[in-house]
């Protein structure tokens, strides 16, 4: 027996979709590798290991409400289900308890979320260099922090993590802000529309002033960032009002997020290049329906919309799926969609403002030195890739075959966007003509034993259900 609807990813998009489906009597199956629902943004929001999780901010705490609604809605949530394949035939494979399970479903909603945009500055692969996202995972999951770290880059997530650190009383060696001056001008034109989301705007501004008030060194319009150290990071040098240097054992980099392409690419969904977000988006309609009608995408995995946007997109995708399953009429879908669609529009105006303000500079998006590593798994530098290109590998996949760039355990997540951009430069063409790696499942490493224990599941075992309670 096939499932009606399987949702991959229990972040805000997946959770809100499950709640909406349940409101109309469809009990979905929700798979997520996490031990708890919540996704990246609401990770452990309802069960934090921190003594006072409210220090992580009201947004984080509001996640607890959605998590509670989700857990009460009756959807079957399988925690610890690490989905490593979604097929265009509606088959899904996941690992759990050291085994592989195969299920079939009529409708799939994929909510794989975002990954952080790689920031290939010299030394970015040194031990001790991490992303702001990693800082958050450590904080939310295990209440682990790094004392005296430097935070470098730009964007809301970076400032949020710095603010969260400061509220918890963790010493921060400095914030090296790379937002270029011209972005403020570019963003200004989108500001009036964004003002309609005044509360969001206010949230952003208050984060920055909170950081300033805390008195840590804040360097603006920083350029020419270089990580220092031979075998591990010892600090960061950059220009901001002259040459600066900060010593630190840990440097957190971040300059925005992009949709995690691996699952939607492996599925063969159509993607389009988005110049505002400098990223590939999954091509969908208003309801997240992809180029394969029974596969929908919601949340940051399709295009960056943020936690609030993901919440709404999950609801819209669910309404469309309900219509496709003939649980509601097209008219009902349209009527129920009106208000979320309006909300999403307002949010997207704010998003445009953010996109312009925190648009990463080319100098940080593309490695500037020939010996900067591009692929950390296979240790391939710009020069190595250029040599491969000169031997005729003009396509990202050909370059991968030639140099092994993208073949390592991160499965191209780190180098994929950089490789396409480099090739676009070298070919003198636009990145949308160059394309991207041809991705394949699995989306994670899996042991031979895990794969060999292969079971097709047509309904949930009672134990899996219990585990989610």
């Amino acid at each position: 027996m096939a499932f009606d609807c399987v949702i991959v990813g229990a972040g805000p998009a997946g959770m809100s979709a499950a709640v909406t489906l349940a409101e109309h009597g469809v009990r979905s199956l929700v798979l997520d590798r996490g031990a708890k629902a919540g996704g990246q943004i609401y990770r452990y929001a309802a069960s934090s290991p921190l003594p006072d999780p409210s220090k992580l901010g009201p947004d984080y705490m509001s996640g607890a409400a959605l998590i509670n609604a989700f857990e009460a809605c009756g959807a079957d949530h399988v925690a610890g289900a690490d989905v490593w394949h979604v097929g265009d035939d509606g088959r899904i494979l996941y690992s759990i308890d050291g085994e592989t399970r195969q299920i079939e479903t009529r409708e799939v909603l994929v909510c794989p979320g975002a990954i952080e945009r790689p920031m290939p500055i010299p030394g970015w692969t040194l031990p001790g260099v991490m992303t702001a996202g990693a800082a958050q995972v450590m904080l939310k999951t295990d209440a682990i922090v790094a004392e005296n770290a430097v935070f470098a880059g730009s964007g809301p997530l970076l400032y949020l993590v710095v603010a969260q650190y400061l509220r918890l009383g963790v010493k921060v060696a400095g914030l090296v802000d790379t937002t270029p001056r011209r972005n403020f001008l570019q963003a200004a034109s989108a500001a009036p529309a964004a003002l309609r989301s005044a509360s969001l705007l206010h949230k952003g501004i208050s984060l920055l002033s909170e950081i300033r008030r805390a008195g840590i060194p804040v360097y603006r319009q920083s350029v020419q960032l270089k990580l220092l150290g031979q075998t591990r990071v010892s600090g960061l040098s950059f220009y901001s009002n002259g040459l600066q240097q900060i010593e630190a054992d840990t440097v957190f980099l971040h300059h925005g997020v992009i949709p995690n392409p691996n699952m939607t690419r492996a599925l063969g969904l159509d993607h389009v290049w988005n110049e505002d977000q400098l990223a590939w988006h999954v091509k969908t309609d208003l309801y997240g329906q992809s180029s394969i009608p029974y596969i929908a995408v919601a949340g940051d995995g399709g295009a960056i919309v943020g936690g609030d946007g993901a919440h709404i997109e999950g609801r819209l995708a669910a309404l469309n799926i309900l219509m496709r399953l003939e649980r509601i009429s097209p008219e009902t879908r349209d009527r129920l969609s009106r208000s979320p669609v309006g909300e999403l529009r307002r949010l997207s105006q704010f998003r445009r403002f953010i996109d312009r303000l925190y648009r990463p500079s080319d100098a940080l998006r593309l490695p500037q030195d020939e010996d900067t590593p591009v692929c950390r798994c296979e240790d391939q530098s710009v020069a190595d890739l250029r040599a491969g290109f000169q031997l005729g590998a003009r396509d990202p996949n050909a370059l991968k075959s030639r140099t092994r760039c993208g073949m390592g355990p991160c499965q191209g997540r780190q180098c994929g966007p950089i490789v396409s951009d480099l090739l676009a430069n070298w070919r003198g063409e636009h990145v949308s003509d160059v394309g991207y790696y041809r991705m394949r499942s699995p989306q994670r490493l899996l042991s031979l034993e895990e794969l060999s224990r292969f079971k097709t599941v047509s309904s949930l075992q009672p134990r899996a259900r219990e585990a989610s309670r």
């Binding site: 195969q102 003009r394 050909a398 075959s401 030639r402 390592g408 042991s447 031979l448 060999s452 292969f454």
Partner: protein
Amino acid sequence: MKTADVLIIGGGIHGSSTAYHLAREGISVILLEKDYVARHASGVNAGGVRVLGRDLAEVPLSKISMQMWQTLDSELDADTGFRSTSMVYIAANEADITTLKQREARMNAAGHTHERIIDQRELRELLPYVHPSCTGGAVSQQDGHANPYRSTNAFRLAAERFGASIVEGTELRNLRRVGSSWIAQTPKGTFEAGTVVNCAGAWADKVALMIGDNVPLNHAAPMLMITARMPHFVEPVVGAVSRQLSFKQFENGTVLIGGGAKGFAERAANKTRLDYEKLANAARTTIDFFPIMTRAAINRMWAGLEAYMPDNLPVVSPSANAENAFHAFGFSAHGFQLGPIIGKVTADMILTGQPGFDLSAFRVDRYDRKVL
């Protein structure tokens, strides 16, 4: 219109090798490739370079090809990644040993001695981590592996150095004979040549039809998976006499697992889909024979589009119905190793009419006559 002496369709290893062997003799060559060189089987295969276990009809070609592999890097001034590691077929039981002995008798009668039967002790010396119950096997000393993408491009780059023109992203759509010329239509213009060679892999039946030959070619998608790096534990390429087992460990520590299981092929869309349940079986077989692989971490899985003939033997042959047209396709999942020699033989067929081998088993019309 661009013209050349010879027009080759397909930038796999056979088209590229043919281009090299012709260009080296001063022949002007244009090669059309609809995607990019080594995009398909030739660039994504398991890289196995083996004589072991081949059909008797292929053995003479395969043996010479194996000699060519030993010095290919210096001949092409390239790094194909070829390593002569030897290859072992494992006998799981006495029945397998019997199979091997029967084969040995046939091979010896034909004068071939490159496959040698080994006992349990030697098997364990060669493969210290093999399951202790395995009883013996066969070994072929010169066999090994190479990097498929680099090998195919090694021929391509060498051909270009001799003046061949390799035209990528250009699909042959229509081919006709006008007077003594072949006129080839593509979305990127027209090409003209006196002689045409069909090296179009999984699409070769379509090109054969344009030439005027009908062949019962099938296409399928054999699957592979590769692990993350792990400590070195095996030197030879490994196969089994009667089970779908096949793997090799590269110098970087990754282990490539094949076994011949097939996924789903959609050649019109350049697409393959994997059959994960079959890959799960391959995983189980691998663990059965090599318990050390239990915890190996699979990093990537894929499949390639390959051309199969009903008898699993290739077509290497002049056209049956047209002048100055030749075929080299249908390698049925073991054509990579033959790359060096097939280019040479095809060039010889074109230039002298004397391939130097008995190619009767590979005739393009071998099924025509049987049907009638």
